[in-house]
Amino acid sequence: MEKVNDICIQVKEASVRFNIASEKVNNLKEYAIKLFKRELMFKEFYALKDVSLTVRKGESWALVGPNGAGKSTLLKLICRILSPYKGSVWVKGSIAPMIELGAGFDPNLTAGENIFINGAILGHSKQFMKEHFDEIVEFAEVSNFLGMPIKNYSSGMRARLGFAIATVVKPDILVVDEVLAVGDSAFQNKCMNRMKEMLSGGTTLLFVSHSNDTVRKMCKNAIWLDHGQVKMTGTANEVCDAYEKSQKSK
């Protein structure tokens, strides 16, 4: 028996279309001329085509596939950054998006100031950020550099801080897009542990990685995308095996 209220993400035959203009038209004169000559033709490009995905609460899904397959586009669709051209996307619960760690850091502000702004960008209140400030600083291991502008931070430090802010809340859905590649292995392990902790606490995970080992370790299910279309859905082991095979045969 299927329990309908278990579903927390439902993507139904969603397509995302980009217009690649033959030349980029972004000034009025060109637009008027092209409109007049009826040359305003766009090459249509589908980043995703009729993708369906149903994720239940507490599941862990990996998105695999070559570069440009539409993995990030699907994540952005689920995070509401993009809206589908066709089809529908339905999400229940709070999302912690990690499409890029520390997106929205202002390089001129200090780390302390950025923690508050970044938290607010993720929709947290002032009260919440004050309560969790120390926890973030501790996890990111930046307590000695709080007064330093972010522009002087190394990329690893920025990633640590970004991860700490994004995971301070226990979200219903955690979306991770290959963001851990910059950190050193100690930090990567720390992040993996935190993600596993969340998973066992009932958080749903969507995970993009090019490392099949990590995928097998972290996720139970996987979806394989290629050229914007679903090639295979199944358990992580099955999909990873098939994907590895196809890469070798190339």
């Binding site: 980009f18 217009n19 972004n26 000034n27 009025l28 004169k29 637009y31 952005k76 995070c79 509401r80 950054i81 993009l82 809206s83 999302i95 998006p97 499409i99 890029e100 997106a103 929205g104 202002d106 001129n108 502000l109 100031e113 508050f116 702004i117 607010a120 960008i121 993720l122 929709g123 947290h124 209140s125 002032k126």
Partner: protein
Amino acid sequence: MKKHISALRFRIKMLLKYRYLLALLVERDIKLKYRRSFLGYLWSILNPLFSMIIMMIVFSYMFGRGIKNFPVYLISGNILFAFMRDSSTLAMNSIIGNAALLKKVYVPKYIFTLSKVTSSLVNLLFSLGALLIVMVITKVPITWYCLLIVIPIIELYIFCVGLGLFLAQANVFFRDIGNIWGVVTLAWMYLTPIFYSIDNLSPVLRYWIPKVNPMYIYITQFRDFVLTGGWTWTVLIWRGLFISLLMLAIGLWSFARNKDKFILYI
């Protein structure tokens, strides 16, 4: 109808949820504007003061005769117009300037536009200090009517929010807007009686400017409260309110219509 009300309720809920972000962004703009400058926030007062002094030296020979309290007349027009120009220019770039972020995290996009207009408003409030200094020096009597300047300031703020939203969304699709807007505001400035009196204009302009130039309406209200120490024309207040709400409606409508397409163009 019910659907609209629930949509509106959702919007208001989102605005409340992100009000802390709005406050932080405004704070950031103000902080960063004067970070590492020796005089800091004082510049917000000194800038309008200096530009008024220069304009006074230049223009008092040409237009100033016949205008009572020319320095106050000049600075009050100047700070209001500068608010409109600065806020619209900043708001115009608020979406494309935050492109990197908007591609990675979901945030209501208008928050960035609203924060730019609001931080310009804070700047305007600082420049009121300059106005006060000039009023004291030139011995313009300060009356209770001066407090009524909140009416034109609120009207102008609403107008600028609408204008900013409209420009921000238009600039995403046509980057020319950014280049042409400087010219438009320059022409607009000369069509607004800031350093001259409207009485010096030809009858045609004298008829049309009070009807169609919103800046004239807001500046005139403001000057009436500050300079004459009395009430302004009531019709100006209604007209100003009407124009500001109309501009807000245009801004909100155009922004809401196009906001989902931004991501494909930024």
